[in-house]
Subunit: 223 residues, 2 copies
């Protein structure tokens, strides 16, 4: 019975995700689902990304959190369309779903955009199970979380297209082997793009910005 | 319909949690539910705790993870009863539930213990909703996760009895104000015991070990 209900929920979600996908395709928006543990630095990565390419591309953000508008307040200074979903009004949901994202997208100021970031609720488990209609999944893993995370949370890394290994500025103070983690990630998902960076220092951002440019270009090229 | 099913699931879980609670009371075991984001350092805290008081108290551990036995393997060297729950065999569950814990406890080597740690799946959201029958909830928050976490994940801090602020050895390299976070935690939950420590250096462990001793002593005193 529980399993049946869950299947129905996922099926309904998938249908709305397909609607979102069509909407993004029609408007040629390259949309990304950003997932990670709480505190891995998703919002900090968005801030540094906006500093570096906010004038080059038209960027919009949908922020997901259980409570507070703290994240969207951090992005207001960039004068971009940003909207906050707080899931406490959806039974404290531990992840975003396609319906929330579709409604939030419709509520964004009516401004065309090239690149849409959907920042999911901080959670390395549940968001992986719910499609949003975004084109790519980006998972942020910070070096302070330890080398074992790809092994212990395989699903989210299996569904990812790109993994950002963040906070590399802290590597000198930690016991974390980047190369070993990269290998573990690629063993789980050989197609992964793995980029090491620091939202604090800007180190490693060139590869990430290039990956974003490429995605936007490809999206525009498709009719 | 979904809400009804969820209520039934929680009701069934609560009944099993009460059975676990009676079992722990009967055997005078002080049982703790350890919760946090992935990589906050729950297992490292257990390692340092076992180094410091493994000979003083009889300690047992139930480890919860989605996949792998990596955490329980880290604890084997202490020669204590430890059992691993991998929730991938329970539909990749994002949290432990009372049934898993009851079964795991029954499966622990038949050795009396004073103190039982139940290390939950790394997740700052879902574990808060499921009682396990443990006496106290301990939430670990590491300083690398940022000051905003108590505001953004209020439920887990509201249900906590003790919060361990871990990785304080990294404070010189971060922008994290301990006092501000302590105030935020106490605003959410005025009864909280907040202890700052480092599992790496052992700093701050005295207060934590005293809190554990007190809990064990009180448990023994009750019939």
């Amino acid at each position: 019975m529980e399993v049946k209900i869950l299947q129905d929920v996922l099926k309904a979600n998938d249908a709305i995700a397909r609607d979102n996908e069509e909407k993004f395709a029609g408007e040629k928006v390259f949309a990304l689902n950003m997932m990670s543990s709480p505190g891995s630095g998703k919002t900090s990565i968005l801030e540094t990304t906006l500093e570096k390419m906010g004038k080059e591309l038209r960027i919009a953000v949908i922020e997901g959190d259980i409570a507070t508008t703290m994240d969207s307040e951090r992005l207001i200074r960039f004068d971009i369309p940003v909207i906050q979903i707080t899931t406490e009004s959806f039974g404290n949901a531990c992840h975003l779903d396609a319906n929330m994202v579709g409604k939030a997208y419709a509520g964004l100021p009516p401004k065309p955009c090239d690149l849409l970031f959907v920042e999911n609720v901080g959670n390395l488990v549940c968001p992986a199970g719910f499609k949003l209609g975004t084109e790519r999944n980006v998972v942020v893993l910070s070096v302070t979380e330890g080398e074992d995370k790809p092994h212990k949370y395989p699903l989210i890394f299996r569904t990812a297209d790109c993994v950002l290994i963040n906070k590399v500025d802290l590597l000198p103070h930690l016991d974390f082997n980047l190369e070993r983690v990269r290998e573990a990630l690629l063993a789980i998902n050989p197609k992964l793009i793995v980029i090491s960076l620091s939202a604090k220092t800007g180190e490693g951002f060139d590869a990430w910005l290039d990956w974003l440019r490429e995605g936007v270009k490809n999206k525009k090229a498709r009719s």
